[in-house]
Structure formats: structure tokens, C-alpha cells
Symmetry: C2
Subunit: 217 residues, 2 copies
């Protein structure tokens, strides 16, 4: 399947490194993309850098206009940002990409989340939306590198609703080299988010931009 | 580096599907292996099935005689089994392979562990040993299948002591096709253990025996 052309994507936190990078890749794939920020001017400025077809506005305006909403914000602002989306996302798919990690001098480590994961927190705050978790392990550095034309990465996609998971898998597959793989229900999202700490540890030890591939699938 | 020939491996819980499978593969690789069980007779019987060079005894006797100890037991018995090893493992590497998972009609899910992970629980109970976490995602079905001669799997290896991590990476690399990859400190073991739930979800959806590969390493 390919991602439905009538579905526009709104990236909340789209001026951050991951959101911006994903938006650019989706725009390249011909998907209609808008990026949101708390600051509409900043969103418009970054959108203009990403390409003529990308628009920018406040997070709320972008969520209201989009057919599918992607949340790519730092963990610190996650609950507040997601809560503010509630009036705009009823009946829509919300893709949560957020990794609740702490950092100290020994490196990254997972933070305990009362709801179990960022994705489950989002679902609790957005009961009228369908939350799907994905894109946790995408390297912002590689996304931003124009010389990287294809990625060596399987994106784990988690959710409760099979059709919504399928749509997000199509959104993954729109980026060259990436492959979406269903990896369980939302209650199994916490460890996928936290695994980003391990990939960072691997990157530091091996001086790499590591990614995952799932074998035998 | 290759695994040091003078180091014998004792597999605690070696009559279970994962322990038995790992023991057989290590024996094939020329490593000196003993398997432990609560029941010495049962251990001896399974050891005889695995090959002439494999011996079996009680968990305590096997841990006392081994140079490196591998813990492969169900999560339910983990704390008690590990606590009983304390007199036998001072100064040794203890490899913890245990996944704290629950199962219900919706499938597997991670259990919260007070210490953060099975590996950290083992380290807390065995302060005189060096605990390394590894082998969480190895399929017992593939291990048991004599037609599987090589595995398509990167084994994530976690620990605090670089030399011990290196020795366990060599123990991984002794099994054809497996590759050991350092993936962080013990405080990042919980999500690696829990990720087994995702691999089980993947196996069910795609009718596969899935494994991980780490790209760019």
C-alpha cells in the first residue's frame, strides 16, 4: 500500500531536528506536510527552508488542518503539548515519536512514565484520537544530511487499531530505505522508546549512526 | 578475540529450552560447558543428550565449578535462584539472559522490576560478581533446530566493566552468525529485556522467528 495522497501530515514540534527532518523527507516523497511550532513565524520560516510545498503555523492550527498528526517534541513538553491538541485531533491518527530519556554524565537512561510510555500518555490525553507509536530510532543527524538518500532502518510501529497501524507503516515506507514493522500494542511501546538510550550508547562506543533491522520479516 | 579456552561455562537453568540450546551451541564451538538444574539427575540426563563433552549437576555445583556463569531461568524463579549462587560466583562473570515478561490473552508485556531489570536485580544480589546482560532475544526454537547452523542475530551485551563485556561478546561470537554488540550500561538493560515482548508480537503477526540486526556497526 502507499500512503493515501488525500491525507495531509501535520508535524507538531516540526521545527525541532527530528520533526524538521521527517517533514523534509515526506515532502520529498510528495506527501502534503505542514510543520507546527509554538511560534507561527518560526514555523513559517523553517517551512520555507524545507521547500515550497511545506507550510508552517502554530501547533494548534497545524493539528486542526492535518489529516494525520505527528508529535515530535522533547519529552519535557510532551504532556502539555499533547493536551493542547485534544480539540483538533478527534477521529485522527496521532503518531507519537517521543523518547522519555534522561541524560547525566554516564549517558542516557530511560525515565519512568506513569502511563507506561509517552505513547500511552498521549492516548490517555487524547481519548478521541488513535495513537500510534513510531519513528523512535530515526537519527536526526542522518535525516538532516542531504547526502543520505536512503536509510538502513526498520521503524517499529505500535498501536491498538490495525488500520491505523497500516497507515503509519505506509508513512514509514514513503521514506527511501525505511520499512515499517508492526511491533505490538501500545503497552509495549515503553521499551521501544527507551531502546533509544541503547542506540545512543552503541553510537558512542562504535562511532556510528546505528539503526535496527528486524530479521526473518 | 575468541572466547578463552581455559574458561568453562556453567549454565544455570540449563535444562530449560534457552539454556539447553545455548549450551549445545557452545559445546559445538568447543567451549567447555556444564548445565545446572535444581535436580542433578535431570541435569545429567539432559547433558548426556547434548553431547559427550557436556556435564550436568545441581545449579550450585555447576556455578562453583564454572569460570563463567550464565543464568537462564524463568523470571518467576530468578531472585531465589540468583541469591543461591552468591557463595559460588565471587570474582566471576555472571551473564543474565532473563526477560521479566507477563502474558495474558492480549499477549506478552513487560513486568516492572523494582531494581530496573533482571540484570540489575542479579547485580544487587551478587555484589561480588560482575553481571553482564545478554542473549535476551535468542529464539529457543531456532537454538533447538539442528538444521539451523547459523543465526541472523546481533546480541545486545550490557554491563559496567569493559573487560567482562568483551568476554561475553566473545561468547556470543562463538555461535555462528551471532554477533555481540555493546549496548550500554546495566541501567539500560530493562528495555532490552522487555523488547522480547515486541519480538514475540512481531513473530505472531508475521509468522516469523525474528531477530535484531544493528546497522552501521
Amino acid at each position: 500500500m502507499s500512503f493515501p495522497s488525500e491525507l495531509s501530515v501535520g508535524v507538531i514540534g516540526g521545527t525541532g531536528p527530528q520533526g524538521r527532518g521527517l517533514a523534509a523527507r515526506w515532502a520529498n516523497a510528495g506527501i502534503s506536510v505542514a510543520i507546527g511550532s509554538r511560534d507561527a513565524e518560526r514555523a513559517a520560516k523553517v517551512a520555507a527552508e524545507l521547500g515550497e510545498t511545506v507550510s508552517g503555523d502554530t501547533n494548534g492550527a497545524v493539528a486542526a488542518a492535518a489529516g494525520l498528526v505527528v508529535v515530535s517534541v522533547p519529552w519535557t513538553g510532551h504532556a502539555d503539548t499533547v493536551r493542547a491538541l485534544a480539540p483538533h485531533v478527534a477521529g485522527k491518527i496521532v503518531v507519537d515519536c517521543v523518547n522519555p530519556l534522561g541524560f547525566d554524565k554516564r549517558g542516557p537512561y530511560p525515565l519512568r512514565v506513569d502511563e507506561g510510555s509517552a505513547a500511552e500518555q498521549a492516548q490517555a490525553l487524547l481519548p478521541d484520537a488513535t495513537v500510534v507509536a513510531a519513528f523512535h530510532h530515526v537519527s536526526a543527524v542522518l535525516l538532516a544530511d542531504p547526502e543520505v538518500e536512503s536509510f538502513e532502518l526498520d521503524v517499529l510501529v505500535l498501536g491498538e487499531v490495525r488500520e491505523a497501524v497500516g497507515t503509519v507503516i505506509d508513512l514509514v515506507d514513503a521514506i527511501p530505505g525505511m520499512r515499517g514493522v508492526y511491533a505490538g500494542r501500545l503497552r509495549n511501546a515503553g521499551q521501544v522508546e527507551a531502546l533509544t538510550a541503547n542506540l545512543i550508547a552503541i553510537n558512542r562506543r562504535y562511532k556510528a549512526h546505528s539503526g535496527l533491522r528486524i530479521t526473518d520479516v
